[in-house]
């Protein structure tokens, strides 16, 4: 193991404090950019914070450490949450003072995660449905080399409408990978409206169970529950784990919560002010 690696072991209040800063970043970044996806970024905050600050074996000072754990944001449109968390965590190629250049010409903070601009990212994503296959390939290769790395793939609930997700979902238990964790950000809203109106995906947990994944359902905003689920995944041998995280789209900003409008629309300056007041 890398010498400089150490477990962060943050307390839940500390994690909640980070989550609040990340939410403020998300709102500010997307407001400055005048476009972007606030709802699905805000719903994923606790999960991404927990992974980067408390769970994954990573060292921001050595982002290419070969035995590191890796996170793939398959729902790439939630890039702001990942950018903010990586900046908070101290990745030099995701500079905190540049977060507000999101989506601008010349910014490393591209509209969707792009490894050409931020090499510490583990995948370039944005075209939905592909991250789980990438994670499976990484998990297989890493297992072949007997590395300790674990691979976490965050999927959107709308995203699992993509057929490729189920190709990968079928393949991962077949190959008995237990170093792969899928996390479904089940916020129930996609671009065109409520998931149940566009293309129902329920029952989500039952589907993953039927595909032979060890499946856990949690409140995706509860740090203790996320920690417990990730620990359960780590203890599960011989098959992958799917964490179905029930979340609230736009979580933390009252007028964005459960509001399909804020899937892919930036807040106005006034809305931003209101949101930041709520996130104080």
């Amino acid at each position: 193991m890398l010498e400089s690696y150490f477990h962060m072991a943050k307390s839940i209040p500390e994690l909640q404090g980070i989550a609040k800063r990340v939410r403020r970043d998300i709102v500010e970044m997307i407001t400055a950019a005048k476009s972007g996806h606030p709802g699905g970024s805000l719903s994923a905050v606790e999960i991404v914070v927990e992974l980067y600050f408390n769970h994954m074996r990573i060292d921001p000072a050595k982002p290419k450490w070969v035995d590191r754990d890796r996170f793939i944001l398959s729902k790439g449109h939630a890039a702001p949450v990942l950018y903010s968390v990586m900046a908070e965590r101290g990745y030099a190629d995701a500079p905190k003072d540049k977060l507000n250049t999101l989506r601008q010409f010349g910014s490393v903070f591209q509209g969707h995660p792009d490894m050409r601009f931020i090499p510490s990212l583990e995948a370039s994503t944005g075209s939905l449905g592909q991250g789980l296959s990438l994670g499976l390939g990484m998990a297989l290769g890493s297992r072949l080399d007997a590395r300790p790395s674990r691979f976490f793939v965050m999927l959107g609930d709308g995203e699992i409408q993509e057929g490729q997700i189920w190709e990968a979902a079928m393949a991962a238990p077949f190959h008995k990978v237990d170093n792969l964790v899928a996390i479904v950000d089940y916020n129930r809203i996609q671009l065109d409206g409520f998931v149940s109106d566009i293309m129902e995906v329920a029952p989500v947990a039952a589907k993953w169970r039927e595909f032979a994944w060890h499946t856990v359902e949690i409140d995706g905003h509860d740090f203790a529950a996320i920690e417990a689920a990730l620990a359960e995944a780590a203890a599960t041998k011989g098959r992958p784990t799917c964490i179905v995280a029930h979340t609230i789209k736009g979580k933390g900003v009252s007028f964005m919560e459960n509001n399909p409008k804020f899937h892919g629309v930036a807040p106005t300056q006034d809305e931003c002010k209101l949101a930041l007041q709520e996130l104080n």
Partner: protein
């Protein structure tokens, strides 16, 4: 560095050798023995793509994805991202059409070290018919930014180019065929990605081909020679990056070019060569390929003849070009 020149035999004779897919299957096993990082991913066609040899010798390094090409491409890209050298294989028509978006995101845009091998390319797969025939994949592969795209002519070419692909750091597509391939090269022939091979010297016209049509081009050159026409024959085994120097020289020195490929003429080798010609030394050109249609069941020779890809068709195109040149 100039293209390597073989002294052409007085007459090219068809002598069948193993298929290029067979050569791929054998070579990837050799690569597996030499490098433990070489892995193979397949989608329920290993007995046809010939990755079955690899699966038998290295079961731990062979990953079956079932009939799910999109996932196969993503898994391959993921394997590359943790340092493996993955060869993924299926029929060209399936891996390219069903895995195109995954190649775009995972391998081209993501620039992973993925090696994609499409077998059963073109219409010479014969009896299975058009749903299994790939006549678009060179065009599609070339539209993946950063990909190297190759189409070997015979066993030795395939062996060498599969090795070159493994040694190259970046995404590669290799087009292989189903039927036995006429022998064009000896075992001593050297191949380099992006460096075409001049198989016959000639000053009146240049015949540029790849894959199975290299042998047909050589036969066509003999037909033309009997008519007093000296045809240069070039194997453009790498479609991307294109050997623009050889093309510019051929255009300048022979003033007429025929491009022959077992592929739709829309967007394949021909249009790429034409672009290079237009940008260097414009000259008359003719194109031998499949014209805006699908083929049918039948044996390889019947396919080449009916769809206008045989030596006589290349010779006819050459005569047409020569008439325009004069």
């Amino acid at each position: 560095m100039p293209a390597q020149i073989n002294t052409a035999k007085p007459k090219f004779e068809i002598k069948m050798g193993p298929s290029t897919r067979e050569a791929f299957g054998r070579t990837v096993v050799e690569l597996g023995r030499e490098n433990k990082d070489v892995v193979v991913v397949d989608a329920d066609l290993s007995k046809s793509t010939m990755t079955t040899y690899f699966a038998k010798e290295f079961p731990d390094r062979f990953f079956s994805c079932g009939i799910a090409e999109a996932n196969m491409v993503g898994v391959g890209a993921g394997l590359a991202m943790v340092g493996k050298i993955p060869f993924i294989a299926s029929f060209s028509v399936f891996v390219m059409n069903k895995g195109f978006e995954q190649m775009r995101i995972g391998a081209a845009y993501g620039r992973s070290n993925l090696k994609v091998v499409g077998t059963h390319s073109g219409i010479t797969i014969g009896e299975d018919g058009p749903s299994q025939m790939s006549i678009e994949e060179i065009s599609l592969a070339c539209s993946l930014a950063g990909f190297v795209v190759m189409a070997p002519a015979d066993e030795n070419a395939a062996k060498a180019l599969v090795r070159a692909a493994a040694a190259y750091n970046g995404p590669v597509f290799i087009r292989c065929g189903r039927p036995k391939a006429p022998v064009v090269y000896g075992t001593d022939q050297k191949f380099e990605i992006g460096k075409s091979i001049e198989l016959a010297a000639g000053g009146d016209i240049t015949l540029i081909a790849n894959g199975l049509l290299v042998a047909q081009a050589l036969l066509a050159a003999d037909l033309l020679e009997a008519e007093g026409v000296s045809a240069r024959v070039i194997d453009m085994h790498t479609v991307k990056p294109l050997d623009r120097d050889a093309i510019a020289r051929a255009a300048a020195e022979t003033g007429a070019i025929v491009v022959a490929e077992e592929h739709l003429v829309d967007g394949g080798l021909g249009v790429r060569v034409a672009q290079a010609v237009a940008e260097s030394n414009p000259c008359v050109m003719e194109f031998v390929g499949i014209h805006d249609r699908y083929a049918e069941s039948g044996n390889p020779d019947e396919m080449l003849e009916k769809y206008g890809l045989a030596a006589r068709d290349i010779a006819a195109a050459a005569r047409k070009a020569l008439a325009r040149k004069r």
